[in-house]
């Protein structure tokens, strides 16, 4: 039964995840240099956090803006446990993610009673608050950061080679994509889409909207922490500037450019944004200017982001194979 469910369609097929997996893993075996692999790590980390964020923003239509704060919880949590408590990488990572999950539930339970701009402000404040907390002098190093963090070791194998490090991020991203795809197509994803479409109607058909919103926000937060926790030991040093409000906004931009709710779009947008920041001179400011222009261009030309591109492609294909005025409707659907 080929249902035309726009929101869930991206998640229905396994093919895009497989393609993404082949590209992500394949990149490691292209004789890429250490610099390219490091960029790959940065892209992958951003992509993980952005995919997590798109579950809340795109999946449930809740405007959450503090994702970098949750990356920080994962990063600092993992780093602290590995260095000061000598916990192994995987358990430390799991603890960091669990901590973010708990904080996500607490924040979500309070903040998700708010809507729209108020929710955006509240989550932004949480992200900023976490950043400000990390700036305080103390055992986490304040503005000077936290270092050195030991390299991750998985089942006795130390990830020193840049390629191994990249592969760790790539595999994590693939797992996150698989999990997110499952979540969006399962009952939960449908109920999230119902909340996004019409919250009152969702309530009236029996969707427990508070529980669903808190759940998805906590999952988004945990995935953000996963990104931070995987990245921290690879960077060997972390500092609060990696988790500033600007980073939260960049992640939000990735979700928008990707197309709300599109996990693959978020990965593409993460690649675009991260690459831009690395190549545009001026480290940050000019890149953000360019980014602003790109966002404006997307809003004007491709309001559904990279996901909209796929939709336009499909409708062109439909027009090709079945000439007639009906083919145009899909484009209209995507651009409203």
């Amino acid at each position: 039964m080929p249902d035309k469910a726009f929101a869930l369609r991206a998640g229905r097929h396994l093919a895009p995840t497989l393609v993404a997996a082949v590209i992500l893993i394949g990149f490691a075996f292209t004789n890429a240099g250490a610099t390219d692999l490091a960029l790959g790590v940065n892209i992958g980390v951003a992509a993980i956090a952005a995919v997590g964020l798109t579950l809340t923003i795109g999946g449930a239509g809740q405007l959450a803006l503090g994702q970098a704060g949750f990356m920080a919880i994962g990063a600092y949590g993992t780093a602290y446990l590995m260095r000061d408590r000598e916990v192994a990488f995987l358990p430390a990572l799991a603890a960091g993610v669990a901590l973010a999950l708990v904080i996500g539930v607490l924040v979500g339970y309070i903040a998700l009673r708010l809507r729209g701009h108020y929710l955006a402000m509240a989550t932004l404040a949480v992200g900023t608050g976490i950043h400000a907390f990390l700036m305080l002098p103390g055992p986490l190093g304040g503005v000077n950061g936290y270092a050195p963090i030991p390299f991750p070791e998985i089942f006795g194998y130390r990830l020193l080679d840049p390629r191994d490090q990249y592969l760790l991020v790539a595999v994590t991203l693939i797992l996150v994509l698989l999990g997110s795809r499952w979540l969006l197509t399962a009952r939960m994803g449908r109920e999230l889409a119902a909340i996004r479409d019409d919250e009152v109607a969702a309530r009236s058909v029996g969707v427990n909207i508070t529980a669903r919103k808190v759940q998805v926000f906590a999952i988004s937060s945990a995935i953000g922490a996963l990104a931070g926790g995987v990245n921290a030991p690879l960077q060997t040093a972390i500092d609060p500037s990696l988790f500033s409000t600007a980073v939260s906004i960049q992640l939000f931009v990735m979700v928008i450019l990707g197309g709300l709710g599109s996990i693959y779009g978020a990965v593409l947008a993460a690649a675009l944004v991260t690459w831009l920041i690395s190549v545009v001179p001026g480290r940050g400011s000019w890149a953000l200017t360019v980014l602003g222009l790109i966002v404006i261009a997307f809003m004007a030309l491709l309001p559904d982001g990279f996901a909209g591109l796929a939709r336009v492609g499909r409708s062109l294909k439909a027009r090709w194979s079945r000439p007639g005025p009906a083919a145009g409707t899909a484009v209209g659907e995507g651009s409203k």
């Binding site: 080929p2 929101a7 889409a193 119902a194 029996g206």
Partner: protein
């Protein structure tokens, strides 16, 4: 089932600041009864439905479903446990979903008769059953909001039926329907009554109220001004006054003709 009826409101009062939208409204509908809530615009009918469906906390009063006090229950529990579902004055379908998926959302939130969670397979089965029953199977894969208005209304009713409801609240289901569609709606409501569903019907179309309602409660300015069978209430002078007092622009839909009464406010 207690003697108090399948769905009962006791002294419901709803205040918004200085405005009392609903004032000490009580009514009771038995199992398998269609109970009409009628009254001019602004009488508090929709607010009352919002209270009954858990979207609005009343300032005072209580709601009983099957004899159980459900006043403070959240909507999702009302659906799962009291099997109470509703529709809205304006169609509210999930716009990103197909007709079938709209129904799936509703089917998955319900429980089996023994209060167990419904499985995906059971839900799917129920959805297909209802799609066929309402002749929507041909539209199942279409985006719900791309359908004609009449069909969207029908999808909304289908979304109610997949919940296997005990109590159904309908807010002006006939609004905007053609005479034929209204006729089909009346048939469906009678069918629901036949299967033991209690229907609370807010409606302006008096022909539909006359055709299906067993009893009615008439509201005006948030207060109950009359109750009884449709024939009784439309003959009630207080009702005529409320409808034809010059305030009601749809007075022509009341199928009685009397001279216009004095304006009461």
């Amino acid at each position: 089932m207690s003697a108090s009826g399948a769905a009962e409101a006791r002294g419901i009062t709803c205040r918004f600041g200085g405005l009392t939208a609903v004032s000490e409204v009580s009514f009771s509908a038995a199992k398998g009864e269609i109970h009409g809530i009628i009254g001019p615009n602004g009488a508090g009918k929709t607010t009352l439905l919002n209270v009954l469906s858990g979207l609005q906390r009343p300032s005072a009063g209580s709601v009983l479903i099957g004899g159980e006090d459900v006043t403070r229950w959240p909507s999702h529990r009302l659906v799962a446990r009291a099997r109470l579902v509703r529709t809205f004055q304006t169609v509210r379908l999930f716009s990103s979903m197909s007709v079938r998926e709209n129904l799936m959302v509703a089917a998955r939130t319900t429980t089996t008769p023994d209060h167990k969670k419904i499985s995906a397979a059971q839900a799917r089965e129920r959805v297909e059953e209802v799609l066929a029953r309402l002749s929507l199977d041909g539209h199942a894969a279409e985006p719900a909001t791309a359908l004609s208005y009449g069909l969207q209304r029908r999808v909304e009713l289908a979304r109610v039926l997949v919940a296997d409801p005990a109590v159904v609240l309908l807010d002006e289901p006939a609004a905007g329907l053609s005479p034929q569609e209204r006729h089909d709606l009346a048939d469906l409501l009678r069918e629901m009554r036949g299967s033991g569903v209690t229907v609370i019907l807010v409606e302006h179309h008096m022909d539909l109220v006359h055709a299906v309602c067993d009893t009615c409660t008439v509201l005006d300015f948030g207060k109950v001004i009359a109750r009884g069978t449709p024939a009784q209430v439309t003959a009630n002078p207080a009702v005529l006054e409320a409808y034809l007092g010059g305030r009601h622009h749809r007075a022509s839909e009341v199928d009685v003709t009397v001279p216009t009464g004095e304006e009461d406010r």
